[in-house]
Symmetry: D2
Subunit: 365 residues, 4 copies
C-alpha cells in the first residue's frame, strides 16, 4: 500500500503521518519523486482499508494498494518514479538508473593472476568502463573445473581497484563468504544459479552494499522480481537487475537466449535499474557486440561485458570473452550510438554526483 501526498505537504505533517502509520504496526518508507512524495507502507497491509488510512491526514492525496506480489520492487511502490543505485568508487560516484548514462562493467570471468587482472583493469578503464568484474568464487558445473582462486583472488581485485580506481563487481556464492567479499566489492553479484538462494538473498539484504542480481536460468520475470523483493524486504534498496540469457530449447549456436524484451517489460513493472550481460547471454564472443548494441538501443542502464587479455587461454568462459582490442572497438561504437539515443539525459548527472559527495556519501555506505 502506498500513500501519495499532495504537493506542498509540510515536512512536519509527513513526519506525523509516518508516526501514525508506525502506530498501526506498518513501516513507512518515504520516497521523493520529481513531482510527488510517496510513503510506502510495509507490513501486513491486507487487513487495512485504504479509506481509513486516507483519514489520517487531509494532505493525503490517494492511498493505493500495490496489486503485484512484489511490493517494494514494484514501480507502483514509488508511484512510477525510477530508483537509482548510487555507488561510490575510488574514481567517481557512479549512478545506475534510468536517468543516468549507461554504466559499463567489464573484465574477465575469473581472476587468474595478478598480472592479468591488473592489465585487464587498465585496459577496460582506458576504454571507458567504470567497474571491473572478476570472479574469485566461481560456480562451475563440474567439481573438476577451475573453482576460482577464492580469497587470494579477492586481494588481487583489491589491488586492481587501488591501481585503477575502478569499482569492483564480484560474486558471492555462500553466506559464509559474504563479509570477506563485501570488504573488496563495491557491488556484490548474486549469480544466476543463486537467484533463489534465499538465505543468501536475506543476508545481502541485511547490508546496504549494492547488489547485482542476475536472473536465474529459467526464472520467470515475476520470480526474479520476488528474489529482488527478498533483498529490499530485508532492508537493502540498492539492487540492480541483470539479464544474462535464459535457457530455451535451442542451444546449438548460443549458450543461452538473451531476452532483451525484459527491458521494456521491467520498465513497466519495477523502478529498479537494469543491466544486460551479452557475454553470458550469447556465450560467443563474435555475437557480443551486436547484442550489446541491441541492449543499449533497447534502453538498458548498464552493460556487463567479459574481456580477457587472451581468451584462448582463459581458465573459464574464454569463448565468450572479447579481447581488449575488440572491447575498445565496441566501446567506440557505443560512444557514437549513445549520442543517437535521447533516452538519457546526462546533463544533471554532475549535479547529483556533487550533491552525493557533499552529503559525504552518507546515503549509501
Amino acid at each position: 500500500m502506498i500513500i501519495v501526498l499532495k504537493p506542498g505537504t509540510p515536512q512536519a505533517e509527513i513526519t506525523r503521518i509516518s508516526q501514525e502509520v508506525d502506530k498501526l504496526g506498518l513501516i513507512p518508507e518515504k520516497s521523493v519523486g520529481k513531482h510527488k512524495v510517496v510513503i510506502g507502507l510495509v507490513g501486513d497491509t491486507a487487513e487495512f482499508d485504504p479509506l481509513n488510512i486516507q483519514e489520517i491526514s487531509p494532505f493525503i492525496d490517494r492511498v493505493i494498494r500495490v496489486e503485484q506480489p512484489f511490493k517494494r520492487t514494484s514501480l507502483q511502490f514509488r508511484y512510477g518514479e525510477p530508483s537509482a543505485v548510487i555507488v561510490p568508487t575510488p574514481n567517481e560516484v557512479v549512478i545506475f538508473g534510468q536517468n543516468y548514462p549507461v554504466v559499463i562493467i567489464s573484465g574477465p570471468c575469473s581472476v587468474e593472476n595478478e598480472q592479468m587482472i591488473i592489465e585487464t583493469a587498465h585496459r577496460v578503464k582506458a576504454a571507458g568502463a567504470q567497474f571491473l568484474r572478476g570472479g574469485a568464487y566461481k560456480p562451475r558445473t563440474s567439481p573438476y573445473a577451475f573453482q576460482g582462486h577464492g580469497e587470494s583472488a579477492l586481494s588481487l581485485l583489491a589491488a586492481a581497484r587501488k591501481a585503477t580506481g575502478l569499482g569492483i563487481v564480484t560474486e558471492v556464492m555462500d553466506t559464509a563468504d559474504l563479509e570477506k567479499v563485501a570488504e573488496v566489492a563495491d557491488i556484490i553479484q548474486i549469480g544466476a544459479r543463486n537467484m533463489q538462494n534465499f538465505s543468501l538473498l536475506k543476508k545481502v539484504g541485511a547490508s546496504c552494499k549494492p547488489v547485482l542480481l542476475k536472473r536465474g536460468m529459467s526464472a520467470t520475470i515475476e520470480e526474479w522480481l520476488m528474489a529482488a523483493e527478498y533483498i529490499l524486504a530485508a532492508g537493502n534498496p540498492n539492487v540492480i537487475l541483470c539479464e544474462r540469457g535464459i535457457r530455451t530449447f535451442d542451444r546449438q549456436y548460443t549458450r543461452n537466449t538473451l531476452d532483451l524484451s525484459v527491458i521494456p517489460v521491467l520498465r513497466s513493472l519495477t523502478h529498479l535499474p537494469i543491466a544486460i550481460d551479452p557475454s553470458h547471454g550469447t556465450g560467443v564472443a563474435k555475437y557480443v557486440p551486436a547484442m550489446a548494441i541491441a541492449a543499449l538501443a533497447t534502453g538498458c542502464d548498464s552493460l556487463m561485458i567479459e574481456v580477457h587479455p587472451n581468451p584462448a587461454k582463459a581458465l573459464s568462459d574464454g569463448p565468450q570473452s572479447l579481447t581488449p582490442d575488440q572491447f575498445d572497438e565496441l566501446m567506440h561504437q557505443i560512444a557514437v550510438l549513445s549520442k543517437a539515443f535521447d533516452y538519457r539525459h546526462p546533463t544533471d548527472l554532475r549535479t547529483v554526483q556533487d550533491a552525493v559527495r557533499q552529503e559525504q556519501l552518507s546515503l549509501t555506505v
Copy 2:
C-alpha cells in the same frame, strides 16, 4: 560443394565449367559477388572429390565442401556474399538485403473490411512503409475464433494495393489456396505454425514468388534454415527469414520471447535477409516500439509491425497492434536512429533499382 573462380575468369570458361559440372549430374548455380564469382553445385556431391572437380579448369581457385546440413541456404554456398530479395511493387522495386535500407511491412493482423484495410494502407504508406500486411486466411487456436474472410479479403488486399501502390504480404495456409494468394501477394507469408508444413514449402518453392518464412514457435535455428532449404531446393531463392518470438517457460508478461540474437547468428550462417516481427514477438503494443528499435540496432533487414485503426475492436491480435498515430511516432524514431547506424549503405540502391527496372524485372517474376 562450391567452385570459387579466379578473378577475371572469362564468361566462356564459366559456361564451359558449368557444362562439365552438368555432365557429372550436378546442377550449377552461379552467383556473382563483389569480388568473386562462385558456382554452387547442387546434387549428390558426397561422391565427388573436390580435387577432381578442381581439375576441370585452371580458372578454378578453390573447391569447397559445404559442411552445414543446409546447403543453398548457407553463407558458405555464396562464399560469404549476402543475397538480396528483389520485390517489384506498384510504387517501386523494393530490395531486402544486408546492403539495403530496412524495409517496413505494416498493417493489421487480418483484413476486416474494405474501409479499414484501405485506411490502414494509406496511413502506413504515409508513415513510410513499403508493404501492407493483412491476413485473409488466419491460423487461429480456436475453431470458433474469426478465421479470416478468405477470398473476399484477398480482393480487398488487391484494392488496397491498387489504391496505395504498396506491395502486399499475406499468409497462405494450404497448398490448395496458393494460386489465389499468389495472384494478389507480392510476398507470400508462411506462418510459424506452418514452418514445417513441408508440402506447402515445396509448393511455394516451385514458384519464384518471394516468401517470408516465419520461424516456428519452437523451431531451432537449424530447423528454420532447413525449412528455408526446402524452398531453395525446390528452385525459389527468394526467401526472407522472419523471427517472431519463440515459446519459452515465461509467458506471463509477453506472448513469446523475441530472440534478437538470431540476427548475428543468422549473419554467420546464411546469406538470406532477416526480418523481425516485434508485434508477435511481444504480443503487447506498448513493448513493440522498444523491440522494433532493438531489432533495427541489431541489424535486421526488415521490420514487420502490426497496425490497426482501432486495436480495441480488432477481430484478432488487437492487444499487440499499434494505432496509426503510434506507428507514425515509431517511424519517426526509426528514421532518426537509422542515420546513426552505419550498417547500411543506401547509396547504391537507386542504381540497383534502375538496373532491375531496365531488365524489365525479368529476374524476379
Copy 3:
C-alpha cells in the same frame, strides 16, 4: 452448453427437445452415457440463458454451460462419460476408449519396400498388435532426407492390410493427399508438425474417418484440445489424442520429453481416448519398453510403438525402432502387467463388438 435429461425421459420427448433446440439455431448432439442422456448444444450459446433452455421441458434435469474454451472435446460436454472410437478392421472391430483393452499400433517409421512392410506386419500381428503403422508421406527436417515413397507406399500398406487383416494407421501431410490416404488408412494420422495445420484439421473433420492427432512439439494441452475441437467441430467425433514427447531444454539423452502426466490431466478435461508413442517420446530404442510400461500403468488407451526388421538400416528413425524380437518381449511384459491393472474391464468388449457388427458398422463408416 449441455442439457442433462432426467432418467427415464421418453424418446419422443428427447426428439421434441432436440427440435426446440434446433429452432433456436443450435445443433443438438445426443450422447447416451451409462446413467444419463445428455444433449450437447452446438452454436453461439453465449446469448442463451440456461434458465430459459431449462423451461423447454420438465424432463430436463440441468442445463450447464461448458466453461472450457474447447467445447465438444471437453469431458463436461458428455457429462463425464468417456467416448470410444470404434474402428472396424479386416480382423475385428477395435475400440479405443477408457473402458476397453489397450490397443497396440505398431510398425516401421516409413514403408520402405513390400517385403519389409509385409514381414513387419506379420510379426507385429503375431505379437498381438491390432494396427500396422507405416509412413507413406514423411515429414523430414531436411529436404535431402528420404521423403517417403508416397502413393506407391500406400499400395504396399493396402497389401499388408490384406495379408494380415491388421488396420492401417498412416499420416497425411497435405489436404491434397487426403482422399488417397483415406482409401487405405483405417485411422488417419495428423503428425506433430501439422497439429495446427488448421486446413488439414478441417478437412479430416469433414469425413468421419478416425483420426490420431499427435500433440505438437511445443503445444500446450489446451492448444492440443483446441486442435481436436477443430475436427469435432467439423463433424468428426472419432479423434484419438496421441502424446509423442514435447520439446524441452534437455535433448542430450532423449529426443523429446515424454509427458505422461497428460494421461491424468486429459482424463480430467476430455472424453477422448489417449494414445502414447514412447518411440518418438524418447527417440532411443532401449528406453522404449520402460516408457511403454509406464504409459500402460498410467492408464493410456493405446500404445504406438515403432518396430523395424533391421533398425540399423532403416531409412528413417532407426535409433528409436525396436526389432521384432524386442517387440515380442515387450508385448509379453505388457500382457503380464495388464492383468495387474484393474483399470480395464474387457468383459463387455465382445458385447460391444457384436452390437457394432449387428448395426452393420453403420455408425462409423
Copy 4:
C-alpha cells in the same frame, strides 16, 4: 579410470595394487560387485596410460577410462553395478537401490506444529512409509510467504522420529544450518533451487550423511549428475537422485512436467538410486496417484509423496498434498501393483539388513 580385477584376485594383491595406485598420486576406491571387484581411480588420470596401469599386476583384467564428464557418479565407475544407499532409522535399516524394495518417503511440505507432524507421522507410518518428510527451512518464492519454523521445527521432527521410529528427510538451504539439520535428519535434502549451490554440495559432501539431491527446475540430466559428482568427489557416496518435475512451456494444468524418462536414462548412466516426487512433479493432488504408479512401473527406487492432514489449510503446497486417507488408498494400490513388477527381488533384503546390523552400521554413519 577403473581397474577391473580378475575373479579370484587375492585380497593381498588388491591391497598391493591399491598401494601402487596410491604411489601414482591417485586415490583408489574399491567397489565389490556381484561378479567383479573394481578399483576406481580418482585424481588427474588424464596423464596416465591405461596400458601402464595394466602392468601393475597380472590380476588386472582391464583398465577402462570413464568417458563421461561425471566420473564417480557414472555407471561405468562401478563397472555396471548399482549402488545402494543404506540408511539406519530407529525402526529398521532402510536401503535405497535397484535391488531393494521401493522406499516410501511421505509427510507434509512443512512442519506446522507438533500435533500435525506427529499425527501425520503416525498415519504415514501406518500406511507403510519408512521416512517422514517435513520442511523446517522452506524455500519460498515470496519473502512474505511462510518461511518454515526453522530450528523449532527441527525439534518437532526429532519428536516425530522418536514417536514413530520413522527416518527423517528434511531440507537444508544454507551451509550455516547444516550441522543443526544433520543432527535430526537421517537424509538431508538438497532442494531443486539449490541443486547448483556448489558451496552447499561441497559441505554435504564432506559428511557421510545420506543426501537426497533434487533435480533443478531446468537442470539437464548431465548437470544433475555433475551436481551429484560434487558430493561424491567430496567423499560422500550416499546420494539419492530425486526427479521432481522440470519447467516447460506448459504450466496451465500442472506445476511442472514430471520427467519419468529419467528413470531408464539414469539407469544407463549412473549407479545411484532414483527417487520420484510426483507431488511437486504435478502440483495437483488428484494427479499424484496416477504418476506415483507410473513411476513405480517405470522402476524407481523410492517415492516421495506429500501428505497433509488438512490440505486446504496447509501453510504451503496444500493443492499438491494427499489427505492421509488418499495416501492409504494409494499405498494399497502400490502394494498390489508391486507384486506385479518383477523388477525387485526383496528376498535378499533381510540378509543385507542383518549383515549391516552385524557390522554395527559401521559403514554408514
